[in-house]
């Protein structure tokens, strides 16, 4: 299995290189460039030309890419035009908050989704099932940024229980508890929509497993129902849910961009959106590279976990 994991990691390198070429080309093709973005209304042609020369933007595209690649090999991702600081510093500072947000949201949505799905399956056609199915439908249909705004209005503006945005209190020291308070609304918002998908699939999976012979056998043996549900049926259903959770991870990380914008969370998703707007090529490259790397690792982890849960699934 280690060999498998290692081979997958090696394959990631050409994937990431390919991604970096595509991003570079895209940024070159879209209209606008950092010099125009920086100068805005002051962008006289001579000002632009001077700034482009100073920023090295007047060099041919392949040369610029190779320079970037060479710097990358030395661990240097360049200096951001729009933020005037090393790309590496900015990216490493922004990745943590996104992982925290996405990780917490993923944990919440998995717990909520699995719990809801199990209860709905066990109480099939009962009132719990109907209520949960309705909630799931609402959850899936709700736009995440709208939900975020509504939660902010209720909990921050009206009740003033939780802060409206950001990751830390604006003034004074900020500890783990402070971060947790800031994390609550964004993570819940992000989790609600993803939970719906997991809940539905858990319910379906559980229903299928609960009909199977081995479950009937366990019950006939006199095993307590709770044990039947959680120890036997759930474990069996879980195997098929791992890839779903893996996909929802992608959704959560992608959805983080909206949530980071609404809640001004200092994450990498929002950084990328702003960098693209500012045509900050180097920052976009650095950010996309890191995000692509994260996706590769997560996919690999999901496959490994699934294999560990059920060795019959081939690698």
């Amino acid at each position: 299995m280690y060999g498998y994991a290692f081979r997958r990691l090696l394959l990631a390198v050409p994937v990431l290189l390919g991604v970096s070429v595509v991003v570079f080309l895209l940024m070159a093709v879209i209209p606008g460039d950092p010099a125009h973005a920086i100068l805005g209304p002051y962008a006289t042609p001579e000002n632009v030309a001077r700034l482009q020369a100073e920023l090295g933007l007047d060099r041919p595209l392949p040369e610029r890419y190779l320079v970037w690649l060479d710097n990358l090999a030395h661990g240097d991702l360049g200096r951001s035009y729009s933020l005037n600081r090393p790309v590496l510093d900015e990216v490493t500072e922004r990745l943590g908050p996104t992982l925290l947000l996405a990780g917490t949201a993923l944990l919440l949505c998995t717990l909520m989704g699995l719990a809801a799905g199990v209860v709905a399956a066990v109480r099939q056609y009962g009132w719990q099932d109907r209520v949960l199915t309705l909630l799931v439908l609402v959850g899936i249909s709700t736009p995440s940024f709208w939900l975020g705004l509504v939660l902010t209005l209720v909990f921050s503006v009206q009740l003033q229980w939780l802060p409206a945005s950001g990751m830390h209190a604006p003034y004074g020291a900020s500890g783990a508890l402070d971060v947790l308070r800031h994390l609550l609304l964004p993570a819940v918002t992000l989790a609600v929509v993803a939970a719906g998908v997991i809940a539905r699939l858990t319910r379906a999976g559980m229903l299928e497993v609960l009909r199977q012979d081995f479950v009937r056998t366990a019950r006939a043996k006199g095993v307590r129902e709770a044990r039947v549900v959680f120890r036997h049926a759930f474990r069996a259903a879980l195997v098929n849910l791992v890839p779903v959770i893996g996909i929802q991870t992608g959704f959560v990380i992608g959805g983080a961009v909206y949530i980071e914008t609404v809640f001004q969370w200092p994450g990498i998703g929002r950084m990328l959106v702003e960098a693209i707007s500012a045509r900050d090529v180097l920052l976009v490259q650095g950010g996309v590279l890191v995000m692509a790397g994260v996706y590769v690792l997560i996919n690999l982890a999901a496959d490994v976990v699934q294999h560990a849960l059920d060795p019959r699934i081939g690698t």
């Binding site: 879209i30 209209p31 606008g32 125009h36 973005a37 920086i38 100068l39 805005g40 209304p41 002051y42 962008a43 006289t44 042609p45 001579e46 000002n47 700034l51 100073e54 920023l55 729009s82 933020l83 005037n84 600081r85 900015e90 500072e93 922004r94 066990v122 705004l149 902010t152 209005l153 921050s156 503006v157 003033q160 229980w161 939780l162 802060p163 409206a164 945005s165 950001g166 990751m167 830390h168 604006p170 003034y171 508890l177 402070d178 947790l180 308070r181 609550l184 019950r219 129902e225 709770a226 549900v229 914008t261 609404v262 809640f263 001004q264 200092p266 929002r270 702003e274 707007s277 045509r279």
Partner: protein
């Protein structure tokens, strides 16, 4: 099949619920105290993360707002006006031919890092930006240095408290440019020590000193007790970047901010009814207008251009669409420049009948017009709804307008390259610090796009060119005012642009904030502000 009985399920469900409450309680309790900010500390909601705190390196108003509190320039605007007043320079003289400016500097002033302010510091500040051979020139780039100070030939230290600028030609806007944030004076010792990172470790002479910058979270500045003009009232100011306007509003409403800038027009109502908040609005040297293609198409005919002037309902745009966040404008010199604007130039009255008559006379009924509309952009107010409203106004008088929208950066490139062969009219907005800038760069024949200017509509009037050149050379301010007013009247009659509105700055403060007002220069001066 037997299901888990209700009796055994309830305690478990109850246990889960209790566990959840137990987990959340400390989290909620830790913040149950209202989110009020501490007294003496002003929390300001900015529209973006600052790029740098080095005045030479930045172009955005967002950065300038912090910089004017950390640094001083040789001159500044008298509070509440756009008149030049002494700052780090106590007096100055201008030579007869308008090319030599000699400044007498204030004595006994120190930078925040302790080093003394003197003529060397002034020379350093400008040479660094303008001289490619200066040892610290690589701490740039300095995007606006040439734009504002390209006429500076040499900066000379006459003695430690006297500095002289030699220009290559008389250039009257020089003093206004010195009041602009690009000319704020930096500490040479600071730049030498930090190099390109000076932007993250700023040192100036301003009323506040830099304390810390946590990226994407806050910039904190503290009171400078030794400030030469008297220490500020506040202990500290925290600048928080909140890019999403709705988030700024929710932070303001939930007590996380004391002062918020750039209120979205739709959210103004959230603050006007509430006694806890004060809404401030002030027009600034800003102009929103339509560039008309005077070279080809329907607008080559002046009558059709004047028809556009009569067709657009400016009052409705400003009052209803922009909800009072702008004022109707007339003339190409913003009214904020009271000394150079012709106040007798009333905005054209909304008169669709007159518009139709002019169009008929020109034989352009049913003319098809391509209208470039931006999707956003700094200072563009609400470009898409405004574009749509204007389209409707023009349709009412018989002009068929087709709108093409573009993302801001793309839009600028297309429009600045000239409208020929592409469009008949385009939205544009400018914020300036001197009445010279906009007409000089956008209305002269020498400013056509292929000559490097912004005259995308190809307007050319030799009298206008002559007046603008003369105004640049004039050293007497009243004379300059007279020349600009004449230029304004001519341009108004030619109507190469349809001037629509002057944006107002908007800000909201809580009722605990005292002594804050908006400046016409759009500077955010917090030196006299206090908080209970």
């Amino acid at each position: 099949m037997s299901f888990v009985t209700l009796q055994t399920r309830t305690p478990r469900a109850a246990r889960w619920l209790l566990a959840a409450i137990a987990l959340l309680a400390p989290v909620l309790a830790a913040g149950a105290a209202p989110a009020r900010t501490p007294p003496g500390v002003l929390v300001v909601g900015q529209v973006a993360e600052p790029k740098s705190l080095d005045p030479g390196a930045v172009t955005a108003l967002n950065d300038f707002r912090i910089l004017v509190n950390l640094y001083d320039g040789l001159v500044r605007y008298r509070p509440g006006t756009l008149r030049i007043a002494p700052a780090l320079a106590t007096s100055w003289t201008v030579s007869e031919d308008g090319t030599l400016y000699t400044f007498r500097l204030r004595e006994g002033v120190r930078f925040h890092d302790g080093t003394p302010f003197d003529a060397e510091a002034v020379k350093f500040t400008f040479d660094r930006m303008l001289d490619p051979k200066h040892p610290q020139h690589d701490t740039g780039p300095f995007p606006l240095a040439d734009f504002f100070f390209g006429h500076v030939r040499a900066v000379t230290v006459v003695d430690p408290h006297t500095v002289r600028f030699r220009l290559d030609a008389p250039y009257a806007p020089f003093l206004s440019n010195l009041a602009y944030p690009t000319a704020l004076i930096v500490s040479p010792a600071g730049v030498r020590k930090h190099g390109a990172d000076f932007g993250r470790h700023p040192s100036g002479t301003g009323p506040f000193r830099f304390e810390r910058w946590d990226a994407n979270r806050r910039v904190v500045v503290e009171r400078n007790d030794g400030y030469w003009d008297g220490a500020p009232k506040l202990d500290a100011v925290v600048f928080r970047p909140l890019t999403d306007p709705t988030t700024r509003v929710t932070e303001m409403l939930s007590g996380g901010l004391d002062l918020m800038l750039e209120v979205p027009p739709d959210q103004v109502a959230a603050f006007t009814g509430d006694d806890h908040f004060r809404l401030l609005r002030k027009p600034g040297p800003h102009l929103w207008f339509l560039i008309l293609n005077t070279r080809e198409g329907p607008f080559a005919d002046r009558r059709v251009r004047r028809a556009v002037d009569y067709a657009i309902d400016r009052e409705a745009l400003v009052d209803q669409l922009l909800q009072g966040n702008a004022a109707v404008a007339s003339g190409v010199v913003p009214a904020a420049f009271a000394w150079a604007h012709d106040a007798s130039l009333a905005p054209t009255f909304h008169d669709p009948d007159k518009a139709r008559a002019l169009i008929r006379e020109a034989g352009q009924e049913g003319a098809e017009i391509t209208f470039y509309v931006a999707e956003g952009g700094s200072g563009m107010l609400d470009p898409v709804p405004m574009g749509t409203a204007i389209q409707a106004d023009l349709a009412r008088v018989g002009l068929k307008v087709t709108i093409e929208t573009y993302e801001w950066n793309t839009y600028l490139r297309r429009v600045n390259a000239g409208l020929a062969g592409k469009a008949d009219m385009a939205e544009m907005a400018w914020m300036t610090n001197d009445p010279d800038t906009l007409p000089y760069l956008a209305l002269r024949a020498e400013a056509w796009p292929k000559k490097g200017g912004f005259n995308s509509g190809y307007y050319a009037n030799p009298e206008v060119d002559r007046l603008l050149d003369a105004a640049r050379r004039a050293t007497d301010r009243d004379e300059r005012g007279r020349l600009y007013r004449r230029m304004e009247r001519i341009v108004s009659a030619d109507a190469p642009w349809a001037v629509i509105a002057s944006g107002k700055q908007t800000a909201v403060t809580t009722d605990r904030v005292r002594g804050f007002s908006l400046e016409p220069s759009f500077s955010l001066l917090l030196w006299r502000t206090g908080k209970q």
